[in-house]
Symmetry: C2
Subunit: 310 residues, 2 copies
Amino acid sequence: MMQALDTQVNPMSGEEVDGGVAGAGVNQRPTTLQWGGPNGVSTNMGSPGPLGSLTPSPATRSKIEQIKQWSLSTYKCTRQILAEKMGKGIRTVDGELEANIELLRETHQKYLNILRLAKLLTSHFYNTVATQAALGECFSDLAQKSPELQQEFLYNAETQKNLSKNGETLLGALNFFVSSLSTLCNKTIEDTLITIRHYENARLEFDAYRCDLEELSAHGGPAQATKVVEAKASFEAQRDKYERLRGDVQIKMKFLHENKVKVMHKQLLLLHNAVSAYFSGNQSSLEATLKQFNIKVKTPNSSSPSWLEQ
Amino acid sequence: MMQALDTQVNPMSGEEVDGGVAGAGVNQRPTTLQWGGPNGVSTNMGSPGPLGSLTPSPATRSKIEQIKQWSLSTYKCTRQILAEKMGKGIRTVDGELEANIELLRETHQKYLNILRLAKLLTSHFYNTVATQAALGECFSDLAQKSPELQQEFLYNAETQKNLSKNGETLLGALNFFVSSLSTLCNKTIEDTLITIRHYENARLEFDAYRCDLEELSAHGGPAQATKVVEAKASFEAQRDKYERLRGDVQIKMKFLHENKVKVMHKQLLLLHNAVSAYFSGNQSSLEATLKQFNIKVKTPNSSSPSWLEQ
């Protein structure tokens, strides 16, 4: 019983006998391997624990079965990774999908960079607006106390205060842009990227079980028939999982693309219109833009005319 | 000789005899007093050094004379400060001049605050402009790689790049404003404030010698005639010094006022015109303003038309 268990638990020896793979370079227990396994379960194989008992309980047996499955899968996937890295293994490639995934990852990075810069711009602009407000107060104060320079201080005070007030409206637009882009990058795109990572794991497992089946079919004699049937079942299960996840990724990426274009179209339009309105001194156009995008900004005197119209 | 010297060096005892002032509360050597004296000389009275010699050299005598003068002046001025603080001394007051000095000090503080805020604004605006340039680059890059959002990215790239370019021109104006205001606050006004501090010291000395003379004239008998003549000469020297410095202050403040109004008029006009031009998107007006004030800004494409005219 111990001998049989040992053979089963150590998939390396099992594979060496069954598939005849020359495992010289990887002839070690998979305990040191970093592969997370299909369920992401990481089990410490170094302490067999209940294996010392001659009559294991059903719970122990189930646990042993899990460990066996995990070890087998880990071994197969690791072997596949190594084979692919050494250019020996055959890798299932969906060229178009992989190119799209690569493009999505690139776009994600670029959008994250825009998000970072937009946050930075908002922060610097916030400080600028606050300083303009303080400067406006200072100029107002000096206008009252400098008869010879009253006019000069007055119109500077007016300009700085209006810039500060309109700046707060633009800050509303910038905050909305940052918030929407953050949701797009960190929630919407990230959700698809998680499915893509599941799909990529499934592709690896599928290839691992496919190679396994191909080797068994090629080298196995009639005595291996049961093993071939088992391997075929595993392979088909992995293929179904892979194809289901590939379908998920394709659908998610299609919807993400549409959503991304829609969100970015809206946000880029908002950003451009708000920034152009503010930096051309058009307060009414700036407020119209914010109204158009349903952005609420706390401006106590929003009904006053544009500072350039005064 | 030692006894006579000691009496002369310690002006407290001399004054007690001459003027009959009850010095019980201040009956101590003036070594611990913080008054800088008319020449700002601070001498350590704790170590008399050459006083131990019975026949002092001419150099030693001159030094002793200096110490004596300084001690006398320090004592008189300290007594005057204490008397003024206790509301007993009579203080020479030039109401108009003192009001103007107070106003100048207030204005100086307010201008320093504007300078601080203008520096802060320049710094925040510099960061904003740099972020706009980076964002413009990002948008340009994405315009090439996003066929569906090409237009949206393109016009945002254009806007941010133009804002950044024009922002550099405005930064030129802000830097010029900060530099001129800094010269006004830290050189021009400061120079007059130094003269004012000299004038205020001279006023204190003048009042101290005036009180001294008044006391001598009131209480002194015929035996004190020489001392009264001496005190009168000292009083007149201090009065001349005080009046000369008062004249200096009046002239300096008059010129400073004219200069300050001229500089501030120019700088406030520049600030307003440059800020208004920039924040109304009028690049040609912004450049005309800088040209008008002879401000050179490194803009590689300054001949291109305004971004709002495009």
